[in-house]
Amino acid sequence: MGRFIVIRLAGMLVTLLALALALFTLYQWLPGDPIENLAGGSRRDQEAAFDPKLYAQRYAIFAGRYAMDRPYFYFSLVPGGMPGAFLRLSNHRQRSVFKSWYRQLGDADLVRSWVEELERLSASDQDMRVVNLARSASLQTSLGASIRQFRQLPEDLLQASEIKPLLDRLEVRLQSRQWLGLSLRWHGADNQFHQWVRGLWTGDFGRSMHDGRPVSAKIKEALAWTTSINGLAMLLAFLIAVPLGVYLAAFAKPGVARWVQFLLYAAYAIPVFWMATLLVVLFTSDTYGMNWLPSVTVSYGYEQGSAFQRIFRHLGQLLIPVLTLILTSLAYLTRQMEKSLHQQLEAPYLATARVWGMSRRRRIWSYAVPNALFPIITLLGSLFPLAIAGSVTLEFICNIPGMGRLLLDSILTKDWPVLFYTTLLIGGLTLIGIFLADLLYALLDPRVRQSGFA
C-alpha cells in the first residue's frame, strides 16, 4: 500500500513537471510579447516622442522583473563560438533573430557589426526607405533576404548609406559553409524555466503581467469562488442523485421510471452554458415577467473582507451557477448510480440473501447500495476536470471571479504567469482528484485492497 502511494505520487510529480515543460514551451511559441505592452512598445508608432533608448531601458527592466533576460532552459546546445550574451538577450524575438544570424554567419563580430550598422541606419536621417528597410531588417531572420532588399535600393541611396562594404562581406560569408562545432552551455538554475517551476515549491508565483498583483493572491481568491460553487453543487447533486438512482433502479414503476430516465437523459445533453444563459435571460429580469432569481451583474472587485466573507455576502449570486451545475451533473450521476445498482441487483449474492428471507428493503439498503456506490466514488475524481471546464463558461456568464474567469482573462490579456500557474494548478488538482478516488476505492473495496493494486 505504502509503496503504491509513493509510486503514484512520484508519477504525479513527473506528470506535473512534464505539463509545466509543455506549457513553458508553448508560451515561447505564442505570438505577441507581453513585455512589449508593459514597456509601452505598442505606442511606438503613434508617439512622436518615442525614444528607442528609453524604451530599451524600460524593456530591460520589465524583462528582468519577469526573469525573461535569462536562458530558456538548464542547458542549451548551440553552434560553437556563439557569444553567451545572445542567449541572455531580454527580447525574446531579438534573441531568436541574433541566434539565427549567428547560425548563418558563424562570426560573432560580423553579427555585431551588422547590428550596429542597422541601428545606425534606423536612427539616422537618411532617406525613409533606407531607415524603414533597416528597421525591418533588424527583425528579419533571413540575412540573404535582407541583403537582397538592400541591393534593390537605388544606387545613390545605397552609396549614401555606406552599407555596401558590409553587405559584400556578409554575402561572401554566406556563400560558404563553415564547421563551427557544437557547444553545450550549462546555465544551472539561472534560467527561465527554473524560475517558473521554482514557484511550485517556494509558493512564490511572481506577479501578474496584467495588473501587477501577486499571482498567488489572484489564484487564492479565484479558487475560493470556484471550490465553493462546485463543492456546493457537487454535494447537492450527490445527495439528490443517489436516492434518485436507487428509486429508479429499485422502487419506481416502469412507466414513471422511463419518463424520469428520459428527462435525465435529455438534461445530460444540455450544454452548461446554454442552461445558464437561459436561466439568466429568463429569470433575472422583468423582461419575461419572471424576475425570480437574483441578478448576476454585481461587480465584486475592491470589496472588503476575505474571499469567503465576500462569497457569503453574495450567496444569492451563486444560485444560478449552482442550479445549473446540479441540473447537468445530476443527470450523469443518477444514470451511473442507477446502472451500478442494477448490476448489483442482478448479482447472485442478493438472490442468496433473498432465499435466506432477508427483507427487500434490507437487501437493497444494506447490501446493494453500498456496493453500488464504489463506482460512483471513482467518478468524483473524473468529474473534477469536467467541473473546471464547465466553470469557465459558467463564470463567464454569471460574472463570478473564479478560476475559469481567471483563466479566460489571462488568455485574453496574455498574462503568462497567471495562465501558467492556473493551468498547472488545475492539472495538479485533477491528478490529486484521480489519485484520491483510486485510494478511496481501494480503501472501501476489500477485493482491491487485498490484491495490492494490480
Binding site: 553552434p79 559553409r177 435571460v281 473546471i388 469557465v392
Partner: protein
C-alpha cells in the same frame, strides 16, 4: 469463441435520428444553396447568371463578380430578375440595415414580401438568425467530424499497436535502434554545427543523404557484431498507458483554451485538430483493451502460426474486431466536439469574431435579454446535435453489449 451477432448498426435506432443526422449533413453540404444573398439563377441585361455557383469560383480566386451581382438580394438590384432564388435570401453575414436592432420573429419587420421575412428574427446588426443557424450547422459539422476522424485514426493506430505488441512482442534488433539513434544524433550535430549558407539550395538533400549513408554504415557494422544482433524488447503498451494517463489527467478544454492563441487565425481545421488531439486517448484505450482481449483467441493464434505479416494481421483480422467500441465512442465524440466548439466560440475564443456560429449567436443573445430567439434557437440546435449523438452512441453500445459474450464466459 467469438460468436458475436452480426451487428446491423443502422437498424438499431429510431428513424428520426437518421432524419436529424441526414438533415445536418444536407445543411452542411448545401448551405450556400439554402441560404444566400445571391440568386441561384438570375437574368440580367440579356444574360443568364448562376451567382451561387459563381461564388465558389470567386472564393477560389478564379473569377470576379459583376458589380450588380454583388448587391445582396434584399436590396433589390435594379433590372435584375431572380429566376430561382435560394430558400432564405440571406447569408449569415448579410447585414439587413432596415431590420437591425433585434427584430423579433413575430414582430413587425420592414420587408418587401414574405420571402424576405426573417423567420427567426435578427440580431443587433440585422443579420438573419436562421441563416446564421444554417451556416453554424456547417461549422459544427466539420469541426465535429474533423475532430472525430482525427481521434479515431490516432486512437485506432496507437491502440492497435499497443494492444497487439503489448510489452513483449515488439522486438527490434539493437543494430536498427542504435543506427537510428546515431542517425538522429548526427542530424542534430550536423544541423547545429554547420553554418547555413544563403541560397540553401539542395544542401538539405545532401545532408539527408550523407546522414542516411552514415546510418546505414552504422547498421551494417552493428549487425555484424553479436551485440548488435541481439533483440531489444520495446514495452510499447507501457508507453501507451503512460501517454493515455497523461492526457487523461489534463483538463482538456482548459489546455485547448491555453493553446488556441498559438494559432494566428483559428480555422475550422485547427479547432478540429485540437479537439481531436485531446479525444483520442479515450478511443485508444478501448481499442487496446479490445485487442488485448482477442489477442489470444484461436483465430488470432492461427493466423499468426500461418506466418502472416504483423501488418496484415492487424489490418485484416484485428481491425474488423475492434470497430464496435470505436464507433460508439466516435458518436459520443462528435457531440462532445460540437459542445466544446460552441462553448469556445461562445467565450469568443474559437472561430468567434469573423464567423457566425451557434456559440456566437448564443453569446449575442446574452447582451439583450428580450431577444429570446438568439438564445433559444442556437441552444436547441446544440442540444439536438449532442442529444442525437448521445442516443446514437448509447444505442450502438447497447447493441454491442448485447452481442458480446459476457466476460466470465469461456473465451
Amino acid at each position: 469463441m467469438t460468436t458475436r451477432k452480426p451487428i446491423g448498426w443502422l437498424r438499431t435506432h429510431p428513424r428520426w435520428i437518421r432524419w436529424v443526422m441526414g438533415c445536418w449533413l444536407g445543411i452542411a453540404l448545401l448551405v450556400p444553396f439554402l441560404a444566400n444573398d445571391k440568386a441561384l439563377v438570375a437574368h440580367y441585361q440579356g444574360h443568364w447568371y448562376f451567382p451561387v455557383v459563381q461564388q465558389w469560383a470567386v472564393q477560389a480566386g478564379m473569377g470576379r463578380f459583376d458589380e450588380m451581382l454583388r448587391i445582396p438580394l434584399h436590396e433589390k438590384p435594379p433590372g435584375y430578375r431572380v429566376v430561382v432564388g435560394p430558400l432564405i435570401p440571406y447569408r449569415a453575414e448579410t447585414l439587413d440595415a432596415s431590420n437591425g436592432n433585434y427584430r423579433s420573429p413575430f414582430g413587425p419587420q420592414q420587408v418587401s414580401s414574405w420571402y424576405y421575412r426573417h423567420w427567426l428574427g435578427t440580431d443587433q446588426l440585422g443579420r438573419d438568425t436562421l441563416a446564421g443557424l444554417l451556416y453554424g450547422a456547417r461549422i459544427a459539422w466539420w469541426v465535429g467530424m474533423g475532430a472525430m476522424v482525427l481521434s479515431v485514426v490516432l486512437g485506432l493506430l496507437l491502440g492497435l499497436l499497443a494492444g497487439y505488441y503489448a510489452n513483449d512482442r515488439l522486438r527490434i534488433s539493437r543494430s536498427v535502434v542504435g543506427s537510428t539513434l546515431i542517425f538522429l544524433g548526427a542530424g542534430v550535430v550536423w544541423q547545429t554545427g554547420w553554418t547555413i549558407p544563403h541560397p540553401t539550395g539542395w544542401s538539405w538533400l545532401v545532408t539527408l543523404m550523407v546522414l542516411a549513408g552514415l546510418g546505414m554504415v552504422c547498421w551494417w557494422l552493428l549487425q555484424r557484431l553479436s551485440w548488435g544482433r541481439r533483440l531489444l524488447v520495446i514495452p510499447l503498451d507501457r508507453w501507451f498507458l503512460a501517454l493515455v494517463g497523461w492526457f487523461k489527467s489534463l483538463p482538456g478544454m482548459v489546455v485547448v483554451m491555453a493553446i488556441l492563441p498559438l494559432f494566428k487565425s483559428t480555422g475550422i481545421w485547427s479547432l478540429a485538430l485540437l479537439i481531436g488531439l485531446f479525444r483520442w486517448p479515450l478511443i485508444g484505450q478501448y481499442v487496446r483493451a479490445e485487442v488485448l482481449r482477442i489477442r489470444h483467441l484461436p483465430f488470432m493464434e492461427s493466423v499468426r502460426l500461418l506466418g502472416l505479416a504483423d501488418r496484415k494481421i492487424l489490418w485484416k483480422h484485428a481491425l474488423p474486431n475492434v470497430w464496435p467500441p470505436v464507433v460508439v465512442n466516435a458518436a459520443f465524440g462528435v457531440g462532445a466536439a460540437v459542445a466544446v466548439e460552441s462553448a469556445l466560440s461562445f467565450l469568443g475564443l474559437g472561430l468567434g469574431l469573423q464567423q457566425v456560429t451557434w456559440g456566437t449567436l448564443l453569446n449575442a443573445g446574452r447582451h439583450y435579454f428580450p431577444a429570446w430567439w438568439l438564445v433559444v434557437f442556437p441552444g436547441v440546435a446544440i442540444f439536438m446535435v449532442v442529444y442525437v449523438c448521445n442516443v446514437l452512441g448509447d444505442r450502438w453500445l447497447a447493441r454491442y453489449e448485447a452481442g458480446t459474450p459476457s466476460s466470465d464466459g469461456p473465451s
